[in-house]
């Protein structure tokens, strides 16, 4: 058993590459996210399935044009996988060999797909190749038959498009457009001028083809959209220009019939162009964040936009916002740090610009988004926007303090806001707003955590670069006719030799306040605000400070710029121990004495967990990940976890989460990824009824009549009954073949099910029982222990951790149970 370091949180994974979305039916939405392909339900926004198997980033997904229940995906690991996304099982894996950057599956190509691969021997040159997918028997196949179609193409998915019926392929790169006609084997090249006149920038950003006409739409870096026609001729081609976007056009999409063109960009406005000649257009403004890509469902009823902040918005065909799928919102810069809301145990950090997101780790959902700045956000590059920089919660989560500042260096528009949690509205309400609390940037902020004593007023401390720290207290307004009963005001301003205040921290009992001023840590009495003593460990400024907790509350820990971790004893006022480590993050566990420190040295992050009273770390994990870890947070568990190994006892009460500089959320876990997945995500709602369309109504009626006729005729009665009555057969047919037990096992069941039992009743009972069992497969997982030992099949393609017991997959367990039940009933019938 071992702790897996650097696991991405499922779903919370911040897709580092532009994820690609596609609608297979109107009911599902497929999305490539990290190493996975996710299947969402359009109606419930739930993640139905997470298909993993690629070893690297998934770069493209495309539906199989010949079978709409199948999906091709390509990845940087050099393989193309064919999936049955309804069941989430890989059907075939084709190994190509080189990194695959984009995937296209035009319907005209019978048994080949097109991928973009880097050209051998040259850097940053890519080519579009067609890959012949061999029809082999096995699952893993080699696909080495590559033929180059186009050379010198862009690496992005958006830079290549296939024309109507796959007759031609268009590729754009920089200012060049090339069209290759497959039939005539002719390559036409067109190029625009590279001159940047009048702020114009002709670089191509994306390309799409009209689904029915010979028309190409291209987006440009200066916000123009050009519609190309007549490109069969090298000279007599024409193009018309549509211009609304003021910045780069990120993606374009034609509607299914080709009557409308959708475009989106940094402005976060979805623009719908009706007719190129009349320039008539509709807008869907304020979508929240820049649009990364647009895709339209196959029936044209919906379209979805993918945003840069890791969010998918589903939009009706009449350009009305329908719903959005969002996990952890990705913001440009997480300035607030990772904070845990004491009330909901949710992770709190920057969300949409100016918003604070409350992200529930258990359900991978955003609980809510609190608008802090309350200003219209203008999506435009180069503006000095104000954003949230600091967040602090009081011990019980009733008060929330936020600091917002504009990006201007010299004169930051600072605002300190205090929010009170209202039980009635179940949300935070603004209580006090303080303009310019400090004259310069605020560096740190903390509440005095006073859990036990109710009488003590709450205290908030802010430290600023204007060389002071300020103490804010809650003042109760005694006037009974006043509008608000409490408000906040400044109580004390302290400074130390005109040094910049950098960090602040209260001791566990709230009696001491530690404030670091550049190289020095000062300790203040929190009642009289007298300076008690100072600590210093030159050279180097103090980067982080924190007090020990519980039994170690007499220690103060500090990390300095020059790579020292120091522990001072508050009783003796002396340095207890120090270690030479370049600590980036120092995070105390609120429920135990442990303190987690993350160091950054020679391009790898390492984790040290220690107790302040002993200089030896409790746990060391070298090379946690390659990225620099910027933030960490301990999230208390709902109930202490049973951890057998002594090494990981510190993980018992709370879980440690990290955020890296690539904005990936990671955790340390003793369990494997598969185990942590919620059971709901494993069950695809297969039984969902199809959409009610006029056609289906008609057809349904027709079928209904037919079946009625059948019964009237007295034919196939038995057969019908069996179809309904034997869930075993149904299960057998639905279960993927590779997880079924051997045929000899299944034979008896199958035959049994075909037999007509004398008492219909008993068969029904059996069926009921089976159904009941299958409803609660989680409850009796202990019982399965013996069964599992019986069947020593090694199914573990994953790393099994914790207790070493081979567990069977769910469907196998189900099957086994069925075998037992059916066997008995069958015998008893005799």
């Amino acid at each position: 058993a071992g702790v897996r370091g650097g696991l991405r949180v499922p779903g919370g994974a911040r897709a580092p590459s532009p994820a690609v979305t596609t609608f297979p039916l109107c009911r599902y939405l497929l999305c490539a996210s990290g190493d996975f392909v996710k299947v969402y339900s359009v109606s419930t926004e739930e993640t139905l399935r997470l298909m993993g198997g690629h070893a690297d980033l998934v770069t493209g997904i495309q539906l199989n044009p010949h079978n709409h229940m199948q999906l091709y995906s390509c990845s940087l690991d050099g393989s193309i996988k064919l999936w049955d996304f309804m069941d989430g099982i890989p059907i075939k894996t084709f190994t190509v060999g080189s990194r695959l950057l984009a995937l296209y599956t035009p319907a005209s190509a019978e048994d080949s797909v097109f991928v973009v691969i880097p050209k051998k021997g040259e850097r940053d040159t890519f080519q579009l190749v067609s890959v012949k997918l061999t029809k082999g028997a096995g699952q893993d196949l080699e696909a080495r038959e590559l033929s180059v179609v186009l050379d010198g193409v862009g690496a992005s998915m958006k830079h290549i498009a296939f024309g109507r019926e796959g007759a031609y392929v268009v590729s754009v790169k920089e200012v060049n457009l090339q069209v290759y006609f497959f039939k005539r084997k002719q390559l036409n090249r067109f190029s625009l001028s590279t001159m940047k006149t009048k702020g114009g920038d002709n670089h191509f950003s994306c390309v799409v083809c009209h689904p029915t006409e010979d028309c190409i739409a291209t987006g440009h870096a200066d916000g123009k959209i050009r519609l190309w026609r007549n490109f069969h001729h090298r000279k007599e081609y024409t193009y018309s220009t549509l211009h609304w976007h003021h910045d780069i056009v990120m993606d374009l999409a034609f509607s299914v019939e080709g009557t409308r063109l959708l475009s989106g960009g940094v402005e976060s406005v979805l623009v719908q162009w009706h007719n190129e000649s009349s320039c008539q257009k509709d807008f869907l403004p304020r979508l929240g964040s820049p649009i990364e890509s647009i895709s339209v469902s196959s029936d044209g009823a919906l379209c979805c936009t993918l945003h840069t902040d890791n969010r998918i918005t589903i939009i009706n065909s009449n350009l009305r916002f329908s719903r959005s799928i969002q996990g952890l919102i990705k913001s440009r810069d997480v300035k607030t740090g990772l904070v845990v809301d004491p009330r909901t145990k949710a992770l709190v950090l920057n969300g949409e610009p100016g918003h604070l997101q409350f992200y529930c780790l258990q359900s991978d959902q955003q609980l809510f988004s609190l608008d802090i700045v309350q200003r219209q956000y203008i999506h435009q590059a180069g503006l000095k926007q104000s954003d949230l920089v600091k967040v602090a919660f009081s011990a019980r989560g009733t008060w929330l303090a936020t600091v917002e500042e504009s990006e201007e260096v010299t004169d930051p528009e600072l605002q300190l806001k205090l929010w009170f949690y209202s039980e009635e509205t179940q949300s935070f309400e603004l209580n006090t707003r303080i303009n310019t609390p400090h004259d310069n940037h605020i560096t740190d902020m903390c509440f005095r955590d006073m859990d036990e004593v109710e009488d003590d007023p709450l205290i908030l401390v802010t430290t600023g670069r204007d060389c002071v720290f300020k103490v804010w207290v809650m003042v109760e307004d005694t006037d009974p006719e006043a509008h608000q009963s409490v408000s906040w005001s400044c109580d004390f301003v302290g400074s130390y030799h005109n040094y910049q205040a950098t960090n602040c921290c209260f001791s566990e009992d709230g009696s001491l306040l530690a404030v670091s001023f550049e190289e020095t840590v000062t300790l203040w009495d929190s009642v009289t605000w007298d300076l008690k003593c100072t600590f210093c460990h030159p050279p180097g400024n103090i980067r982080n400070i924190c007090f020990g907790r519980l039994t170690c509350s007499k220690y103060l820990i500090g990390a300095t710029d020059y790579g020292f971790l120091c522990c001072w004893n508050l009783l003796t006022c002396a340095l207890e121990w120090s270690a030479h480590l370049n600590i980036v993050v120092l995070q105390p566990d609120p429920l135990s004495e442990h303190i987690a420190a993350v160091s950054w040295l020679s391009k790898e992050s390492s984790l040290f967990v220690f107790k302040p009273n002993e200089p030896r770390p409790v746990y060391v994990q070298r090379n946690l990940c390659k990225e620099k870890i910027l933030l960490a947070a301990f999230v208390p568990r709902d109930e202490p976890e049973t951890i057998s190994s002594e090494k990981y006892l510190w993980l018992r009460r709370s879980q440690l989460f990290f955020l890296t500089d690539t904005q990936e959320l990671m955790t340390l876990s003793t369990k494997s990824l598969e185990e942590r997945l919620t059971p709901s995500s494993k069950q695809l709602a297969v039984e969902e009824s199809p959409l009610v369309t006029p056609f289906s109504l008609l057809l349904g009626k027709h079928r209904h009549q037919q079946s009625k006729e059948d019964t009237d005729l007295g034919k196939l009665v038995v057969h019908n009954k069996h179809e309904q009555a034997s869930p075993a057969v149904k299960e057998l047919l639905h279960t993927p073949a590779h997880v079924l037990p051997s045929a000899s096992f299944l034979c008896t069941i199958f035959i049994n099910s075909l037999l007509i039992s004398k008492e219909n009743k008993s068969a029904e009972e059996v069926a009921d029982e089976v159904e009941m069992e299958s409803e609660k497969p989680e409850d009796d997982s202990e019982e399965e222990g013996d069964v599992a030992e019986m069947e020593q099949e090694d199914t573990s393609h994953m790393e099994l951790l914790g207790e070493v017991t081979c567990k069977l997959s769910k469907s196998q367990e189900k099957e086994l149970r069925k075998i037992r039940k059916t066997d008995y009933s069958w015998i008893s019938a005799f």
């Binding site: 304020r286 200003r375 104000s386 004169d411 005694t478």
Partner: protein
């Protein structure tokens, strides 16, 4: 998808006096009417029955004034020497007054000559009043005694000689016909019961008592003397409830308003203070020209009458309620038009079509939503917004600056508009809450219109004005800093504690110095 968020206009807390319900209420009086009396006004008493005439005792006369009359409607002048403390009976038909010669006279309101004369005090009588049974009179004199008289027979019932100094004030209980209270210069307030031979309670006020007052409930007693107003709980045996020290000279008179929610006190320091009787905090105060001797409030707080040492009677009448008349003129849709159909509960088979709530945006917000910067700026430079709510104008300027379009919005304006802009900037740039934004604006304007300086006399004048305003402000700030430096030195010498205290003072008072790099 979020809706458009309107521009946040920074609300600034108003400095100075806080506007409360009380200030609004007590400000609702017209400018006072001044009436000159012959001597210091020692007592004012309102008739308890309509039309609420009031008796003013000054010098040797008692004047009766009507509600709006500036001349006395009746005068009682049958006094050889000064008259004191003319008081109405509960039914408003009899009036009693003491005098310098020690006699007490009882008048009928309609008559002229006294009905009865009570003789017994050997020294001047400053305090007279009716008990609530209407048939007896109590009095207190400078001969240290408090007497009780029978009206029909004009004889003395009982005389209490318990005080050790002049008895100058008192009042009768409204609930119990036998109880009255006297306050004396011997620093005590005594409570008498006519059925007993001696006082039943003595309260030490601590200063010569100038005025006493009993709450309508009879449970609380207010005494005024020296600079203090003290409230006592009578039912608890005279326990001190609260001591108010809001005047800086002797408090001479007390009065309750008609609802009993507010207590008024007048003092020689020329102030009338109004206290809330729940929190005993001062909720409002009036200023007068000279020291106040007597004070009375008519029923329904219609009139405040204050008598002063120089013999001036100050009468304030409440302004008529004007709101009602106006609202009647402007006919608005009936309430039921607004609530029509709102209360309908949809039934199960009903198909609900939700109508989006239409949000009303201000004009500048509409323009900002559609990114029309110049027009948005025009909208907030219109006189009503610019003059009355400069914070809106500044907020829009700040928003434009945030969007990076302020420069283009300011540019391309004609002489009139530039003049308007510069007037606004020159006037408001020195206000600390607007300074950061307006300094930027002024900077941009000078940048943009620098090439055309000298073409228009009006604009040039405005530029000079702006320079003047900023120069003045800089001088002012320099002076402030000098004062601050001096104070720092003083504090440093006085404070034993270390520099932390100094820091506190510094950052509390320090205001930003305007950047000197900009000048018109």
């Amino acid at each position: 998808m979020a809706a458009y968020k309107p521009v946040v206009v920074q609300a600034c807390p108003k400095l100075g006096e806080k506007i409360t319900q009380d200030t609004l209420y007590w400000r609702g009086y017209k400018t006072p009417v001044q009436i000159k009396e012959f001597g210091a006004v020692n007592k004012i008493d309102f008739s308890p029955v309509p039309p609420y005439n009031y008796a003013v005792t000054a010098s040797s006369r008692i004047h009766i004034y009507g509600r709006y009359s500036q001349e006395p409607i009746k005068t009682f002048s049958r006094f050889r020497d000064a008259a004191y403390g003319a008081t109405y009976r509960d039914d408003g038909r009899l009036l009693v007054a003491g005098s310098e010669d020690g006699n007490i006279r009882l008048f009928d309101i309609s008559g002229r000559a006294p009905l009865r004369q009570f003789e017994g005090h050997t020294k001047p009588v400053h305090l007279v009043g009716f008990l609530s049974d209407k048939y007896r009179i109590f009095s207190g004199g400078d001969d240290y005694s408090a007497n009780l008289w029978d009206i029909p027979s004009a004889t003395e019932i009982i005389s209490y000689s318990e005080h050790a100094d002049y008895v100058r004030c008192g009042c009768a209980s409204k609930l119990n016909a036998d109880v009255f209270i006297t306050g004396s210069y011997d620093h005590t307030v005594k409570l008498f019961d006519a059925r007993t031979k001696s006082s039943v309670m003595t309260i030490e006020h601590g200063h010569p008592v100038e005025s006493v007052l009993l709450f309508p409930s009879g449970g609380l007693l207010v005494s005024a003397g020296g600079r203090y107003v003290k409230v006592w709980d009578v039912l608890k045996g005279g326990q001190l409830l609260v001591s108010l020290k809001n005047h800086h000279k002797t408090v001479t008179c007390l009065c309750l308003n008609s609802s009993g929610q507010r207590l008024l006190s007048g003092s020689l320091d020329r102030h009338v203070k109004i206290y809330s009787t729940t929190s005993y905090k001062v909720v409002h105060s009036f200023n007068y020209a000279t020291s106040i001797l007597s004070l009375a409030l008519s029923p329904e707080d219609e009139t405040i009458v204050v008598g002063m040492t120089n013999g001036v009677l100050n009468v304030k009448h409440r302004k008529p309620e004007e709101g009602n008349e106006k609202s009647q003129k402007k006919r608005q849709p009936a309430y039921r038009t607004y609530v029509k159909g709102r209360t309908y509960m949809p039934k199960q088979e009903d198909f609900c079509v939700s109508k989006p709530v239409k949000r009303v945006l201000r004009k500048y917000d509409k323009l900002l939503r559609s990114f029309q910067s110049s027009k948005a700026l025009d909208a907030v430079l219109e006189p009503p917004i610019m003059v009355h709510t400069p914070e809106v104008t500044v907020a829009v300027m700040q928003e434009l600056h945030r969007r990076g379009t302020l420069r283009s919005a300011l540019a391309g304006r004609d002489e009139k508009q530039v003049n308007l802009l510069l007037t606004f900037v020159a006037r408001r740039v020195i206000e600390p809450r607007f300074t950061p934004v307006l300094v930027t604006v002024a900077d941009m304007i000078t940048d943009i219109y620098q090439p055309v300086v000298g073409q228009s006399a009006i604009v040039d004048k405005q530029f000079l004005k702006l320079r003047e305003a900023i120069g003045k402000e800089i001088d002012y700030q320099e002076e402030l800093l000098e004062v601050l430096g001096m104070m720092d030195t003083l504090f440093a010498t006085f404070t034993k504690k270390r520099d932390t205290y100094l820091e506190e003072n510094k950052s509390n008072d320090l205001t930003e110095i305007i950047e000197t790099d900009m000048n018109g």
